[in-house]
């Protein structure tokens, strides 16, 4: 029998106080996949995540985790999940370690050794016996991550996980997530505003806007969509030349700048050609098409609703 997907959302909808906040989200997550959930403020990311972990009930549609329905088999479904939702809230009057012990006591398969291991993984070993009250945001975020991965879940859900992490923390975090996904086979669901983060960390990204997923793509596909930009003295002539001789469609961006997707052609040969045709090149660059461009293309100009 084929193994069920780690996470499956089918036509998930949520209406709160007469306002439809999530409008029919479908998605599937497989083991070892790092999935990015990207959207502007108020898009419905957190609301979707709350439905996944059963904090709120979907108005319509279903959530299935490792083959178990969250609505009908909550305990089995949630046995496979570790998560941080919105912010890493912990008991402030307990120490980091006491917090972890509290949560570990709710799940018998977590050993003391495992707790020490995850504390080390998130780099909190020196502060774990201090009260959470005294932690910085980044330290609380680390504790949140420790708590989420403690039970070795099959599905790890992180809402804005890098919020508050320093650059070193971010790099470590990215490394940790990669290791968990590619070595331990965890499926990871990351929601974030930080486009670069998602771009550097995820395999697949969905962009959500006003409660609907508007596109789902492999991050790889977006990144390989390279464009070249030239700054030169006669843009009109260059566009004509490129079209006639190389069958490349270039567009004029500014007065003296044109841009084109050159596909398999060699940039060296093209530049040589243009110079030979008497065009003076001032500047030439490879402009990597980033997720940010896609994100802004898709979502710019919309008001927060």
């Amino acid at each position: 029998m084929q193994q069920p997907a780690v996470l499956e959302l089918a036509n998930l909808r949520k209406t709160i106080k007469g306002k439809e906040i999530v409008k029919g989200v479908n998605l599937t997550l497989n083991p070892s996949q790092i999935f990015g959930f990207l959207g502007p403020n108020g898009a419905g990311k957190t609301t979707t995540i709350r439905m996944i972990v059963g904090l709120i009930k979907p108005t319509e549609g279903s959530v299935t985790i490792c083959g178990y329905s969250v609505a009908h088999n909550f305990v089995k479904a949630l046995s496979n999940v570790g998560c941080i939702i919105e912010s890493p809230d912990m008991y402030k009057y307990l120490t980091g370690m006491e917090n972890l012990l509290q949560l570990a006591a709710m799940d018998k398969k977590i050993s003391k050794q495992r707790i020490n291991d995850v504390v080390e993984m998130v780099g909190l070993q020196h502060r774990v016996n201090d009260k959470v009250d005294t932690y910085s945001l980044g330290m609380r975020q680390r504790l949140g991550i420790a708590q989420a991965i403690m039970a070795r879940p099959k599905l790890l859900i992180l809402d804005e996980p890098t919020n508050g992490l320093d650059p070193a923390g971010m790099t470590e975090f990215r490394k940790l997530i990669r290791k968990l996904a590619y070595e331990d086979g965890m499926a990871v669901f990351v929601s974030s505003h930080l486009l670069l983060e998602i771009q550097q960390m995820c395999d697949v990204v969905s962009i959500i806007k006003q409660g609907s997923v508007i596109t789902t793509t492999l991050v790889q596909d977006i990144l390989h969509d390279d464009k070249i930009e030239w700054q030169l003295n006669d843009p009109e002539k260059a566009i004509t030349l490129l079209r006639e001789h190389w069958n490349i469609v270039a567009v004029r961006l500014k007065n003296d700048t044109i841009s084109a997707d050159i596909g398999q052609h060699s940039l060296d040969k093209l530049n040589e050609f243009l110079i030979r045709e008497g065009i003076a090149l001032t500047y030439c660059s490879t402009k990597q098409h980033t997720l940010e461009d896609l994100f802004l293309d898709l979502t710019v100009g919309d008001e927060i609703v």
Binding site: Y93, L94, Q102
Partner: protein, 334 residues
Amino acid sequence: MFSLIENEVIKMISKKRLLFVFAILIVLISVFAYGQNQTQERTKAQLTQRMGITATDDWRKLADQQLIDMKNRLDSPYRGENSKASLRVRMEQLQYNLDQNINPLEQSAAKFTTRFMEQSIFLFLPLLIIMLAADMVSGESSSGTIKLLLVRNVPRWKILLSKYLTLIILEVIVLFFAFVLSVVISGIFFGFGGWFAPVATGFKVLAGKLDSTSVLNVPQWNYSLMVYSLAFFVAVVVGSISFMISVLVKSTAASIGIIMSTLVAGNFISFFLSDWKVTRYMFMVNLRLTDYLSGSFQPIEGMNMLFSITVLLGWTIASLIISFVYFTKQDILV
């Protein structure tokens, strides 16, 4: 389930709220005991002045005199059964005092401990319980930690039940400490005895009159036990209602505010609105259960121990049903 309860207890201890409750208990009991001590001194002084006896030595004479007097009254053919019964009880007590050489004017740890709870049961004890119960759930909602608990592989009703059972445990602990602290602190003032002195109980109120036909004497320890059992019952009732408010309201401050004002309002109501029939079904006016034991209480015509206990049980069960249904169904949006 055991580990869930253990978790709750650890949280409660770390929050230092229990410690706070104990501190209040110690302060209040000490003040109360000191006050009683002062009153006792003053009464003795007054007695000496007025009657020319030294209360400490001559109380036996007085008691003998009263006893003979009562015996005469008891033999009188014009006495009703009702007053004969209370006379008999009164005589039993005097006889006991004489036999055991106990000055009835002297306080004892046993008397104090009982009286303290009788005085606390309708306001002070409920306030202590509210301090513990009112933030059990709302505390987790306002700090956001409720999310941590509800995304584990544990059903919601178990989480709530573990909290409720923890509350019951805390109620037992609070009463136990109230008892122990009363005994120890008042014992220092008045000595630790008095546990076997007879106390009258079994009064009934019939048609607006105190009916004492079924009155009998029980030893003080037995009476104390009854008082503390009723206090435990009241603690459970108030705990359950506060618990419900704590489930329904997301902020601790609001939930403490709501339940405290309800309680205080209840004390007004029993004075000012006592002829309004509905008020007897409010939990607040039914909390003085121990007064039924001593026969001193009837705020509203027609109320008795059974009635009050039934009303309180009704409130408790309703609170629990509402708490569990709401908690397991609600959307967590904090």
